[in-house]
Subunit: 437 residues, 4 copies
Amino acid sequence: MVEDKFSPFAKETLAKLIKFQEDEVLPAQKIAHAQLPDDPVLRWKTVIPVIEELKVKARKLGLWNLFLSKAHYPEHGVPLTNLEYAVMAEVLGRAGHMGSEAVNCSAPDTGNMEVLARYGSPEQQKKWLVPLLNGEIRSSFAMTERFVSSSDATNIRTSIRQEGNEIVINGHKWWISGAGDPRTRLHLVMGKSDPNNANSHQQQSVVIVPADAPGVKIIRQMHVMGYDDAPEGHSEIIYDNVRVPLSNLVMGWGRGFEIIQGRLGPGRIHHCMRSIGAAQLALDTMIQRVTDPSRKTFGKYLYEHGTVVSDIAKSRAEIESARLLVYSAALQIDKFKAKGAMKEIGIAKFVVPSMALQVVDRAMQAFGAQGLSQDTDLALMWANLRTLRLADGPDAVHIQQVGQRELKRAPTLAKKAAEIKKKEAALFEKYNLKPPA
Amino acid sequence: MVEDKFSPFAKETLAKLIKFQEDEVLPAQKIAHAQLPDDPVLRWKTVIPVIEELKVKARKLGLWNLFLSKAHYPEHGVPLTNLEYAVMAEVLGRAGHMGSEAVNCSAPDTGNMEVLARYGSPEQQKKWLVPLLNGEIRSSFAMTERFVSSSDATNIRTSIRQEGNEIVINGHKWWISGAGDPRTRLHLVMGKSDPNNANSHQQQSVVIVPADAPGVKIIRQMHVMGYDDAPEGHSEIIYDNVRVPLSNLVMGWGRGFEIIQGRLGPGRIHHCMRSIGAAQLALDTMIQRVTDPSRKTFGKYLYEHGTVVSDIAKSRAEIESARLLVYSAALQIDKFKAKGAMKEIGIAKFVVPSMALQVVDRAMQAFGAQGLSQDTDLALMWANLRTLRLADGPDAVHIQQVGQRELKRAPTLAKKAAEIKKKEAALFEKYNLKPPA
Amino acid sequence: MVEDKFSPFAKETLAKLIKFQEDEVLPAQKIAHAQLPDDPVLRWKTVIPVIEELKVKARKLGLWNLFLSKAHYPEHGVPLTNLEYAVMAEVLGRAGHMGSEAVNCSAPDTGNMEVLARYGSPEQQKKWLVPLLNGEIRSSFAMTERFVSSSDATNIRTSIRQEGNEIVINGHKWWISGAGDPRTRLHLVMGKSDPNNANSHQQQSVVIVPADAPGVKIIRQMHVMGYDDAPEGHSEIIYDNVRVPLSNLVMGWGRGFEIIQGRLGPGRIHHCMRSIGAAQLALDTMIQRVTDPSRKTFGKYLYEHGTVVSDIAKSRAEIESARLLVYSAALQIDKFKAKGAMKEIGIAKFVVPSMALQVVDRAMQAFGAQGLSQDTDLALMWANLRTLRLADGPDAVHIQQVGQRELKRAPTLAKKAAEIKKKEAALFEKYNLKPPA
Amino acid sequence: MVEDKFSPFAKETLAKLIKFQEDEVLPAQKIAHAQLPDDPVLRWKTVIPVIEELKVKARKLGLWNLFLSKAHYPEHGVPLTNLEYAVMAEVLGRAGHMGSEAVNCSAPDTGNMEVLARYGSPEQQKKWLVPLLNGEIRSSFAMTERFVSSSDATNIRTSIRQEGNEIVINGHKWWISGAGDPRTRLHLVMGKSDPNNANSHQQQSVVIVPADAPGVKIIRQMHVMGYDDAPEGHSEIIYDNVRVPLSNLVMGWGRGFEIIQGRLGPGRIHHCMRSIGAAQLALDTMIQRVTDPSRKTFGKYLYEHGTVVSDIAKSRAEIESARLLVYSAALQIDKFKAKGAMKEIGIAKFVVPSMALQVVDRAMQAFGAQGLSQDTDLALMWANLRTLRLADGPDAVHIQQVGQRELKRAPTLAKKAAEIKKKEAALFEKYNLKPPA
């Protein structure tokens, strides 16, 4: 469907990426795991050596910052469309967090780089964007707050106010991904700078907070289904009278809402793209399991039992159709930017993670208890995918938005129906027939 | 996704088709219904005038035989790809059987024309294909048999044997669509000509039987969910010592299996294409209903109750993804013929009708009892769609085939896994780490 | 689960009922069908002889009016609890409409008899209830209106007003079940007698309208899927200045809402009970099909293909659990009347029909096209069950009510949670531990 | 439904249990968590003080060994039926592992006590059963093996052979629950003592292995999702030339299969019972969340958004029906022992965990990311419930068994159908009607 929309550069890059992943990334996954200590303190202070080595190799190969489309970011971007990146992100999704990190395409850095590339001052770009683009540092985006429903941005309580030449930040955030990582140098903090502004979308601002600024207190790490996701983690953080220079304000006072809107566009779809890859990996893993002669029971292969073949066929179909939805959304973004692709993004956002969870769940079932354990990728994959039904807006929000958008077609439909009705009435008269009751 | 794959001719044809449907076909639907008598005998003897008038108009507009791709049928075909026709078939699907019939694209004639165009002798083509292509006559394909599971073609019992210069046919068929229509002139009858052939795929032959040949006895019409689908119908037929000239044999003795294989390719997908249109129509109808101020209850629009908005969003998503699956299959057929598109056809075949049934069911629920009645298109649409989960092979057959095809990827997957495992082992050694248990 | 709750009378009656059904009713079903003419006019004028004969036999056996529980209707009732009747209704449900009619337990007569037995004047009871109880006449309940959402009773437009000693009725109803039957003698018509009453539940009245009163105009019969359900039918009726004596008012002016509330209690659950029987019949039919040696394909029984065994197991489980829900609701009605069983009735109401539809759908699939035709019970069964997702309130209404009822538990839950929290805090202090963040 | 089946003793016990749980167990849950160290080594050496204190209190109250029905275990049992215990187990299920442990009803000890009570020698009972009944020690059941599909018991490779007066055990097991617990004193190990026996069900034996016997090597702890379930754990164990006295053989040589069959009966249903409680807790938690004023978004309670009310109603319905299935299975066990309740147990086994997972998943979604974290019970609950779709046989095994059992009804159904057909034919003759085609 999309082959003819790929540039020669994209084709070449994709081929390199696949080779790099199979030759370098996938064989290194368990190494990375082994290089992360079990110790509950040390694991948060570790920079995993093998990942840093992979980053060097990837960059040499030109497999770097592939998410940043030159069409939208002429200065820093890579000549790839969103559609082309969609296919690559699917490849990355087969290798977990590490797959993306190795080519400097991992969240939340990707979104943060987009923010800084689009909205950052030259000074901010030099200080923060360049090392991020170089993969030298990492970053967090601090929006979600404890004790409030911060999916409604007007509920946000973190205070961001000017005091002389400084900005003072006070707030209580959690689920701040990446804040646990020893390489993280900055948090983009969203808060209220003008809480009484009549326009509820101009109350918020975003400010750059150095990770080591006095008053930045990481309280604890949140777990996801038992996983701490060290060293990145998802931190609970109190910003306690944190002070930063005025120049750390991004874009201007009251532009926070605008910034997060811009940030959420293609990023949402990156998750979906990777989820397709995860689902595909789960299916591939399942196929190997059910055809494994050593797993025969009662003289039959696993695939000869129960509904296994049907489960595999359904998984295949669900992956294919979800993939096409993602391609369609990516293409729409390429054509009309994220704003013109809200329907396609929304649909992908609520369809793809649930689809992938289901495929992974079937694979887990085929593996028995092992499928829930540390011995396959499936359990961690499920945990990660499960968060995607909540991250960047829970499913329900996207479902409602897509549904409401459909309702707006009502007047057009009613008008067309009335026209047909009118012609129909004329025909009944012409044929001298009695119209139905 | 597919706009750039459309030729100028296809774009123009599509635009004409949409206009023709809205201006002529849709307003005429209830006329056609009113022109069909209730009388249980007369309704099978009626040629509905308004449909014949529409056919004349359509042909003048060049909206004719759109299903027959010139690429595959150079002599009789239209310069449209399967993908281009897919989009048009979706349009046709919004107007029930009549939509297709008006442009001479209705089953089972389409498949029969393909058979005659591909396998028919010049004489057969002249006598039967030409009037079919002209929309002057109609036809049936007689394969399914009562009392046996004829989805396994080796179970077929109808006997086709040579006697001198004649072929003698004896058999008991049912669900022979179109055989009730007074315009139907021929049945393509599949039967066993060589039941003891060691190759079970060479036992069958197909022969042309004139609808009025002595011994062709229509026993009764089968109903689908209460509908008789007059005047086409789905007939139970006994072929009782029917005799036809030897020249009525299609392609040659023992070629029957080959013929039905060829016949089933794109035809399967035509149904899917139309189903997308039906589902889209159901959703459009539902949107009008739930936004209708006269249907408010307890002071609220229907869409403000319960899960209506969510149902609409899910329907939207399901239609989008199913449509993409159909496009993908059509494109694959264009590139690699039906044989090279078995996976895509199979997936579409078991996904699309179930999807459409679900969308229609939600719409029926929004309409209340009216949604099950003769006052909307929904009930008949549901009945028609329900048959598609059985026609041309029940869902289960396609699911199994897609699943089995996936299993064939196992050796490649296992090989790749082994290679990664080997590299992984090398890395553990290099890093001097203990591999996991 | 319920055996020990059956009286000896109930056990004996159940045994008789099962025998009667197997010996008399089931063998007569196709006879009844054959005795109903195809002619679109005559079929509405026919009293099916074999059903009348069955009624005579049933009454002699004491299998009569089993739905009318003596506990609630001391004068006319039968000494059966709702739970006991639930089990019998499941038996009846295996034999379609005819099963219930043969023992004078068919809707809408059952609900109408309950209304007249509970709210009718002695004169009304003598004139209308007694012949209904005797199975000599039939009846309709005219509530649903065309062009309005009459599931919200305040939307009803039919006018019922007093003029001297008469009541004048004007209105446009549809989906009036049973009004097509030549034996139907009365309609219980619901309308607005006091449309401006501040209490919206006192605006309605119910009045008895003789079926042959001048001004009662049956416009047409509504179809369900493709079925007209003759001779009962579901009629569209205009009440055009219909005049009845004042004594035909039921219960009193403004009591209409109360009457329909009372009418809807156990009646809702009768449908569910019968649906269990229908689902069970579908499963039994499916089991016979998939084990039928003559339906083998590719050398294997149908049950050896695909997901058939799994489908059967799921159907079994779904029927079992739905049956228990119905028993639970019936028992609750026995203990606390319909009002005290709203949760249980509501759950059964939205769970059971969908469950039964799914089981029937699986069976249809196992039968191939035949499963959609007039040759098995499945298609008609599906059509009937589909209406139950709308009759007496669409699923969504019951789902919302059950959900809202659950939300009312919130304060109790919050209180209990607070108590536990308090004790927990005390324990943290006692153990000198730091409570979690 | 079941109230009248409860003895006065059971009612009193249930009331005490509920009070004990609310007053003592639930407030202590986070204490228990806090008393378990994070340290990856220490957490496996910890006996959690607060649980031991609860055990003392529970035993004083007579809340002890409630699972062991006196009817089946006259000597050691408690006068409770399985049905009565089902209701209590649901209560226990609201408090996780700890709820059951506090009253000495936690797996795998329960099943092991049943094995020893039923099959153990007096000596074995004195040494192992009595301290287990007293809650002084814990135990494991070692059946599942790594590298083989041990759900087919004939695949088991662990060798158990006699050498003089000793038994020698060699094998590689995993997923041995409880083996990590410092209080565990014995493993019941299943292995092959007669691998060449023609009767594949007499090849296995079960032997008691002291947890500290030389050669018992715990390799590692398996994780479930990201949880290690310390201190119980699910251990991978190598039995390396472990030697035990001959008297440690349970029941006799070759009786292993019999023992596991006996062990799996009610135990399977205990898990289901607890799952109902877990689901109910999840729903209660969800209700509190969606009615929490502090979680309002866009001015509305959470329950006013999307499909929340519908999700709650469906959860309520699913819990109710699953509960009734479990009651039904428990009652059947009481009446006909586990063997006579295979259908009911099988249905509950594959229906209940999936139901509970779905309810928990909806609750997680209502809680947002918090619902996946360590801050609610939901994530751990999901992980535990997920294992139940695999433990004691994966869903697919139970589904196939229930389905196959249904197929056995085919001959009876066919016979009854033939009888009705015969009567029908007679009626067609009697009425002089032509039977349908």
